[in-house]
Every structure is written in C-alpha cells, then in structure tokens.
C-alpha cells in the first residue's frame, strides 16, 4: 500500500484554513468584533489569495536557517573588529538613527500584526499577518543584536527603548505607529502592510542597506540579507490586501483611498529622516534622496498606481507636492538637527566643501539657491567661534510632530503654515497633507503627546535643557552635540592615527 503524500497546496490548505472553523457556541461577530466597524465589506474571505503558502513548520525551519547564518557573520564581525573598518566614524550615527528611530517600530509593527492576525476573520489573512508579526519581532531582535556590537565603542545607543518613548524627534516614528495601531485592523493593513511595506519600503531599506554596504558596515548588510526574504513576503501581503479589499466591494474604494492618501503622506513625512541620512550622514554616498525618490516613488509607485487604476484607486493626494519636496526635505531636516544638536542622541556635523559640491551637483535647481548659502553662513559662524544653536523650542506639526521646518509649495524661502480650529482650540500643521489628516479625525489628533508642549507643561523632568536631557537618559556631552570633539571621534582617531582627519575648510 502506498502512502499518499499531500501536495504543497493541499498541505497548506490543511495546515492553515483546515484549522479554521465557523464558531457555533459564540457568534462569529463576537469572536471577531474588530473587523466590521471601519465600514469595510468582505463578501468572501475564501477569495483571499495566499501567494506564499507558507506553513508554520516551514516558517520556523527557514527562519532558523537564516538566524544561524546571521549570527555566524555577526560573530566574525566582532572577532575581526569590524567596527574599525567602517568608512568613517561618522557613519555610526546612521546606525544610531536606525536603532532609535526604526527598530522600536519593528516592535510596534510586530504588535500591530499580532492584533490583525487575531482579529481578521479570514484564516488566510490571519496566518499571513501572524507570520509577519513574528518577522517583525525577529527583525527587532536581530537589529538589536547586530547593533549591540557598536554599543561597546560608541555613544548614543544603549538607551534606545527609553528614548523611543520620550525624545522629541523619536515621537515622529512613534506617533506614526501609534496612529496605525490605534486604528482598526483594515486601516492598519493599508497603513503598514500596503503604504509602508509595499509602496515606500524600498525608500527605507535600500538606502540603509546600500548605505551600510558602501560604508563597510558588513553586520548591517548581513542583517539586511537575512530580512530580505521576509520583506518580499511582506510586500506580497501588502499588495494582496489592497487588491482583496478593492475586489470585495465597491463601497470599500473611498475608504481605502482615504487611507492610502493619509498613509502615503504620513510615510513621506517619516521618510524625511531617511532623506537626511542619505544626503548628509553617509560618509560614502549611495545616491541622493531625490534620485531615490524618482526611482522608487515616481517610477515604481507610478506604475503601481497605473496597475491599481482598474479598481478606481488614484495616486495618493499630494503625491505631486511630495515629489516637489524631494528637492528640499533632506536639507531642511539636517538643518533642524544641526541647530538642535544639543538635544539629539546622535552627532551632527557641518558638511565639508566636497560634500557641498556633491549636493550642488545632485540638486542643481535648489541647493545653490537656498541651502548652500545657509551652510556657508553657519560655517563662517563656526569659524568665528559662534557655532549656531537654536536656543528655543520649535513649533511642531500637530499631525506628524516634526518641527514646522517645511516650506510653502512653490516658495522654498517661506515656511508653510497651516492652522485649523477645533472646539475653540487652534492646531498648527506643516502642510495641507498633515492638516487634511487632522481634519479627517480631529478627536484622535487632539490627544497627541506633543514633545514641546509636554516640556512646557512640566512633564519632562524640568524646565531646563539639562533637566530634559536627563529625563531622556541622554548622556550630555557624549551622546549629543557635534561629531567633532566627541568621544566617538576620539576613539575613531585612536584606531586610525594616520588617517587624514583634517576636514577641508568650506
């Protein structure tokens, strides 16, 4: 007698959907209370396509294999003192930005997908969300392990979970994920699954991973490879979600369009940190933010939305404004951190002449006209011993929580101010995109924990800068301020005593 083996597809059906059932002791609506209040209509959950057809046992096997390879490379990197082979000591600040600004959001994504993996009624979608939840948790863990090696030598790394909940600029990624996680499961899937993990993911991971490769950070590159197969699974889930929702019922279209508009804009604002990293923080540059935006959003995103047009879905609102801003945001963001370097948990520096020339070449329409004069003015002030610091706290946008440093569309010489009234209170915004999001759900955003307002209300350790930095667990004098003169620079120079560390005068 021959034992029949199940085919891959049958096996998957048995191991996932075969484990699902229609409840009878309790009403299905009571078991899945979260999947109807958002107004999304699903006629047939079985129409959900499972492109990967991965079962749990195979998942563990794959991930364990990748884990073994990753940790072997991490061990080798540590034993060979890989940190001394970076392009420059400044590079480590990219790693700090990643660990403080991105890794905690992997954890938030883990929590969010665990929630959707519990609350979506369809078994196929539930299984996919559960696996992504585990992926995200694993990404946090492997990132922490990868970066922990740098923590032995460099500042600004050890307090990342504490800082995530408190530091002013980390409220930007935190509030982004808080917003997604406090929405319903379908909005979360569009926010994180589609907008973040599909539409914008290449603008996050490609810059960090190629930046690592160009700058000798082989440990982060290896992490990137280890996460890559997960990311392609996440992308497939993201695109499946949006197609599934749009195919299920025509009433879903306006709801999905509103979420796509919102999460595109929120994602664009968040990615401004990556823009600044690419244009200012990588000692060896990969490409400019503008080039990355053109390839990954204008071209790739453009053809994606052409493909989605048959469902009636349009390009996200303000996509044209975001593309115009790709000329500006990296410069504007680095200027924010340059002048608030005393309150940042990574180091800043004045771009040298070679760097300014690179920016002039990459941004021929805008850099010489608006930004080069700013850096040159500040360089002159540095030379005179009057390094420029902003000694007041900035106005923040009520939606994205970023200092309101962005300029008026069509006029890069003037700040873009938008405001709205709600129940007698005034709220300020950096853009029409952020204002629209607030106006769509004002009761949600009036609750925002705004770092500047919280300091003034006396909730952040005290009234002075040292009080607040202590409350952030920031080691003042080591974690913050310019790279030049930092303990990071000192240790780098000890490893490279003969390196030409004299920076070219501007």
């Amino acid at each position: 007698m021959t034992v029949k083996k199940l085919g891959l597809r049958q096996r998957y059906e048995h191991m996932t959907r075969g484990l699902d059932w229609e409840t009878t002791y309790q009403k299905m609506d009571d078991v899945f209370p979260y999947d109807s209040f958002e107004g999304i209509k699903i006629k047939d959950w079985s129409a959900w396509e499972d492109p990967f057809r991965l079962t749990m046992d195979t998942y563990w096997k794959f991930q364990a294999e990748k884990e073994r390879k990753l940790y072997a490379v991490l061990d080798a990197f540590a034993q060979n003192n890989g940190q001394t082979n970076l392009s420059d000591g400044r590079y480590v600040n990219v790693v700090k930005l990643f660990l403080t600004g991105i890794s905690p959001e992997e954890y938030q994504a883990h929590r969010g997908f665990a929630f959707t993996g519990r609350h979506l009624r369809g078994a196929g979608a539930r299984v996919a969300a559960q696996m992504q939840s585990l992926d995200e948790l694993r990404h946090l863990q492997t990132q922490v392990h990868t970066i922990s090696h740098y923590n032995k030598f460099f500042d600004g790394i050890s307090e990342f979970p504490h800082m995530h909940d408190r530091v002013w600029y980390l409220s930007v990624p935190k509030s982004f994920f808080d917003d997604a996680r406090s929405a319903g499961p379908f909005e979360f899937m569009i926010a994180i699954g589609f907008a973040f993990e599909y539409l914008l993911t290449n603008l996050l991971f490609v810059p960090f991973m190629s930046g690592a490769a160009y700058n000798g950070d082989m440990s982060t590159v290896t992490f990137g490879f280890s996460a890559q197969s997960d990311e392609s699974r996440h992308m497939t889930l993201g695109i499946e979600v949006i197609k599934f929702l749009l195919e299920q019922h025509p009433d879903n279209l306006p709801i999905v369009q509103k979420w796509v508009d919102k999460w595109f804009w929120r994602g664009h604002r968040l990615l401004g940190l990556v823009a600044m990293m690419m244009d200012y923080m990588l000692p060896k540059k990969v490409m400019s933010w503008k080039e990355a935006w053109d390839i990954y959003f204008v071209e790739a995103g453009g053809s994606l939305f052409q493909d989605l047009e048959r469902y009636g879905l349009k390009m996200p609102k303000y996509a044209d404004i975001a593309t115009e801003e790709a000329e500006h945001i990296s410069h504007q963001n680095w200027a924010v951190f340059y002048q608030y370097t005393h309150a940042a948990a990574f180091h800043t520096w004045m771009p040298d002449k070679e760097h300014l020339d690179w920016l002039s070449a990459k941004y021929p329409n805008t850099f010489d006209k608006y930004y080069r004069p700013r850096w040159e003015l500040w360089a002159e002030m540095e030379k005179e011993g009057k390094r420029f610091y902003n000694m007041a706290l900035p106005q923040l946008c009520q939606t994205c929580q970023i200092p309101m440093a962005y300029t008026e569309p069509g006029n890069p010489a003037a700040i873009c101010f938008r405001a709205t009234q709600f129940q007698g209170e005034t709220y300020h915004f950096c853009s029409d995109g952020c204002k629209d999001i607030f106006d769509g759900e004002p009761e949600k955003y009036v609750q925002a924990w705004m770092p500047v307002q919280q300091i003034f209300q006396g909730n952040c350790g005290g009234a002075t800068v040292p009080d607040v930095l202590a409350w952030y667990n920031m080691n003042a004098g080591a974690d913050n301020m310019d790279y030049t003169g930092s303990p990071d620079e000192k240790i780098w120079k000890e490893w490279h005593p003969d390196a030409d560390v004299a920076r070219k005068a501007v």
Binding site: G184, L377, A405, Q447
Partner: protein, 120 residues
C-alpha cells in the same frame, strides 16, 4: 464624531492634552522671523497673557534671535507684524491678550531691508 471607532462613546474617553489650563497660567505663543530660515521653524514660548507686547519683543524675541548676524540691525519700529494670519500693528504697551493674542497664537514678522543670506 468623525473618528472611526469601535466604541460609540469615543469622545467621552479622550483627553485634549494641550488646553490652556495645562500651561500653568501661560499661553503658548509661536514666533517666526520671516526670511531668516537659519531658524528652522517658528519658536514656541509659554508666556503670561498679561505680558506687554513690548516685553515679548525685548525679553523673548530679541534674545532668542540674537545669534543671527542680522539681529543687531533690526529696527523694531519698522517691523511688519502678522498675528494669526492678519497683518497687525501691535501696541507695545498693551498686553498680548489686549493685542488679540490667545493660546497658540502665531506671530510672524518681517524686517524690511533685512532678508538674511538667501533667506537664511
């Protein structure tokens, strides 16, 4: 209610975090020096509404913008003011409140002849 929420009484559970009462008698005031983008954004200050507008200028605005090379050349008598989106001629002897300012007011000002270096 516009929030899409599972709880029908969502608004009963929310906490508006930045109401004036939370600022210990102060109002939040935003100030921005136009055409001087060295200062990356408007600056935020918690101030007593009874503070004279003149004191806002001399004790708050002037010292916080002093680092800019143009700062020493500002003639406050010829500055153009905009308060909450409207051009204004604030009375320096009167209070912020008497000049129509409230919690989270935005004061923008232009300094004729001084436009920074390429608006920086």
């Amino acid at each position: 209610m516009t929030v899409t929420a599972i709880t029908p009484d969502y608004v009963k559970h929310i906490e508006i975090r930045d109401i004036q009462q939370n600022f210990h008698g102060n109002i939040l005031v935003y100030v921005h020096w136009e055409e001087h983008l060295s200062f990356c954004a408007a600056l935020a200050f918690p101030l007593p509404p009874a503070m004279p507008f003149g004191a806002l200028v001399s004790d708050v605005i002037a010292p916080h913008y002093a680092a800019h090379p143009d700062a020493a050349k500002v003639d406050w008598a010829v500055v153009n003011w905009m308060i909450d989106g409207k051009m204004a001629a604030p009375d320096f002897g009167k209070s912020l409140a008497e000049n129509g300012m409230h919690h989270k007011s935005l004061v923008r000002f232009w300094t004729p002849g001084l436009t920074g270096r390429a608006a920086s």
